[in-house]
């Protein structure tokens, strides 16, 4: 896609959708650009601020029910992100953010709210127990190869329609609730993974940056990240062993 010399990253409504350190996703993207000598910039788009349609990447984090309805009404009133997505900009949303990108979502009070319609998914309250814990998945082969690791904390059950593809297949954890985690449709991506997800999954971060920059990026090897990924994978393996469960890779 066409962009000027600066990759502009929008942190969408961090004041209401930023419960779980998800703003760290912007930090990760910015740093991975900087390490490659590419200029980047993070734009905070708070409640009440207009949403420009000129950014390269839009990030949405987790939040609670009320924050979701507030976010939908704000983003409907200021549709810059949806306009940008229609032109190929990258949108990545976590947890509550994933849910509002969908066609609709039903809160814990049983009320169904219309979503932003960027992803063909619908979310309803899942089982009575919250899905809380490590989530380990294998991404869609079209995207990248490395397994995904994150921490989920939600009660939503997300079903995909015909236009959306699952982001990854669950090896350990709950995810959407039907054996997959998240969804993607073009350059719009959603996941239940906190952690933040891009800190734990550099391949996912680089996929988004490659889309935004429009050309392949030099690989970066950071031993600390490999060590964290291995450690989280071992932790999941131990939990699975304790529950006498086999991990299906």
């Amino acid at each position: 896609m066409v962009h000027d010399s600066v990759v502009r990253i929008g942190l969408v409504l961090p004041d209401v959708l930023g419960t779980y350190g998800d703003s760290g996703n912007a930090t990760v993207l910015l740093k991975r650009l900087e390490w490659r000598g590419i200029r980047g910039e993070v734009v905070q788009l708070g409640v009440g601020d207009p949403v420009p349609n000129s950014l390269d990447i839009y990030l949405l984090g987790g939040g609670e029910d009320r924050a979701q309805t507030l976010a939908v009404s704000h983003l409907t009133e200021h549709p810059g992100m949806q306009q940008a997505a229609a032109n190929g900009a990258v949108v990545m949303a976590v947890c509550a953010g994933l849910q509002i990108l969908g066609e609709d979502f039903t809160g814990s009070d049983g009320v169904t709210h219309g979503g932003l319609g960027l992803l063909d998914v619908r979310t309803t309250p899942g089982s009575s127990t919250r899905a809380v814990g490590e989530l380990l998945t294998l991404p869609d082969k079209e995207l990248f190869a490395d397994p995904m690791t994150g921490f989920e904390n939600h009660q939503g059950h997300t079903q995909l329609g015909a236009s959306a593809r699952p982001l990854s297949r669950v090896v350990y954890g709950t995810g959407n609730g039907e054996g997959h985690d998240g969804a993607y449709q073009g350059h719009v991506l959603g996941t239940y993974m906190h952690g933040p997800v891009l800190a734990r999954n550099p391949a996912f971060a680089d996929l988004m940056l490659t889309w935004a920059v429009g050309s392949p990026l030099a690989p970066i090897d950071i031993p600390a990240i490999s060590q964290l990924r291995n450690e989280r994978r071992r932790a999941v393996q131990q939990m699975a062993n304790r529950r006498k469960r086999l991990l299906r890779f």
Binding site: V16, A67, F151, N153, I222, A224, I225, Q227
Partner: protein
């Protein structure tokens, strides 16, 4: 008051047990008073005896003692907490950060008047409270630290004279749910109470929302460096506008009409202003603005309960450490100052302390056990970027998460998972050790036992 012969007999046993426990109490109880317990209902008295016995047996077996005893007492008499508080003046202290410190400060201040029962050890759930109250039944005053998620249950049971509400921010999210949910539960609980005065930090938006429901509120401008959890209004969800003058929050409001109340007490840079407009230098021996905030809230509560201000402040000034915090421990020529920071708000108060002497190495210890919260994503809400240029070591059971965070913060660091090796890895001299909950607890006891 119905006390039969059986009750009196039980009371005798209680006294013996209490002495046994007092002698062995590992946490310093300020005001040791002889337990009498003669006016407890028989069922509670019997339950307390059984609980104390269980505590004793647990200690003999090498366990923690008190909490087990509290658990037994509660199992035998679910209303024990209310009964143990019935004839006392009770102050509850709750909030995310500073509970233990403020409880100790308020207990010291209240001890100007009469003996105070208190839970010093951070045992702030119902079993811990029953344990503390059972071992000190004669004290007419009680100052109790309460886990914020247990406050509704406990305030219903004890009908406190005062609740001190310090601050509310995200902590251990995967375990207890979101802070806004906590605020709504506190709000409902406070609305149910009659004749309770809430002493609340009006610079904290979430605290203000919960405290507003009280029959009577004393507002304290206690400041706070962390506002990440209250940028949206707890009443309507819109953005809260914050007015900042010279780096200090002076006012906040929401378009829905919810806004900062006018405080009667305030503290800034060590100077406290009272409702009469008098100004005092706090001159605490504990460092940092968080302790000054806690002291001011404690003094507002104490004076409301008729303690004269000056002796109350004098007692608070005698505190030099709280559960091992801020104290220094030596190990192989390293003089280690141990600081507790278990969430972004705690870190916001800790970062200024680390600037006191920029030549000191900083060791950061992070665990991710149940009590810490297993989700470490809060590390990304801390501006570790400020530590760039310092000597930093990442340690603890989840130091791999910290190492990645520091890498992205542009902070050069050494990753040494074993905390003792990390301490030995810096040059002899002063070193700062910042640890989250279980890391702090384990290192505090390990270092003081010469590990």
């Amino acid at each position: 008051m119905v006390v039969g012969g059986f009750g009196n007999l039980m009371a005798e046993s209680v006294r013996v047990d209490d002495r046994w426990l007092m002698d062995r109490a590992s946490t310093g109880v300020d005001e040791v008073s002889t337990a009498q317990g003669g006016d407890l209902p028989a069922r509670t008295a019997a339950a307390v005896v059984a609980g104390n016995l269980a505590a004793k047996l647990s200690k003999v077996a090498g366990g923690g003692g008190g909490i087990i005893g509290g658990r037994v007492t509660l199992a035998l008499d679910p209303n024990a907490l209310g009964r143990l508080c019935r004839d006392r003046t009770v102050a509850l202290v709750t909030g995310t950060n500073g509970k233990t410190t403020t409880t100790m400060m308020l207990a010291r201040a209240m001890s100007v008047l009469q003996p105070v029962a208190t839970n010093h050890s951070g045992a702030n759930m119902p079993d811990g409270l029953v344990a503390a109250l059972s071992t000190d039944q004669a004290a007419p005053l009680a100052v109790l630290e309460i886990d914020e998620n247990y406050l509704p249950k406990i305030s219903d049971a004890v009908q406190p004279a005062v609740i001190v509400l310090l601050n509310l921010s995200r902590d251990q999210m995967d375990r207890v749910g979101e802070v806004r949910h906590t605020e709504r539960n506190l709000r409902t609980a406070i609305a149910r109470l009659r004749d309770t005065t809430v002493v609340a930090n009006c610079d904290d938006v979430l605290v203000t929302s919960a405290a507003t429901e009280a029959d009577s509120v004393i507002w304290v401008s206690a400041g706070g460096n962390w506002r990440g959890d209250s940028t949206s209004c707890p009443r309507c969800g819109m953005r809260v506008h914050v007015c900042v003058t010279d780096g200090t929050v002076t006012d906040w409001y929401c378009d829905c009409g919810f806004r900062r109340p006018t405080p009667t007490w305030a503290v800034r840079e060590g100077l406290m202003t009272t409702p009469s407009g008098e100004c005092f230098e706090l001159a605490l021996r504990l460092p940092g603005s968080a302790n000054e905030a806690d002291a001011t809230l404690a003094l507002a509560a104490a004076t409301h309960l008729s303690v004269p201000l000056k002796p109350a402040l004098d007692r608070i000034r005698t505190i030099t450490g709280v559960g091992g915090r801020y104290t220094t421990v030596s190990r192989n020529g390293r003089i280690v100052r141990i600081l507790l920071a278990k969430n972004p708000a705690g870190w916001a108060e800790t970062l200024p302390l680390l600037r006191e002497d920029t030549s000191r190495p900083i060791i950061i210890a992070v665990n991710g056990r149940e009590a810490d919260g297993r989700d470490l994503s809060w590390l990304w809400d801390i501006p570790f970027e400020q530590l760039a240029g310092r000597q930093v070591l990442a340690t603890g059971e989840r130091s791999a998460d910290l190492a990645v965070r520091l890498t992205y913060a542009g902070v050069q660091h050494t990753h040494v998972p074993d905390p003792y090796q990390a301490i030995d890895g810096v040059d002899p001299g002063s070193v700062e050790l910042v640890a989250n909950y279980t890391a702090f607890r384990d290192l505090k006891s390990g270092l003081s036992n010469g590990a």
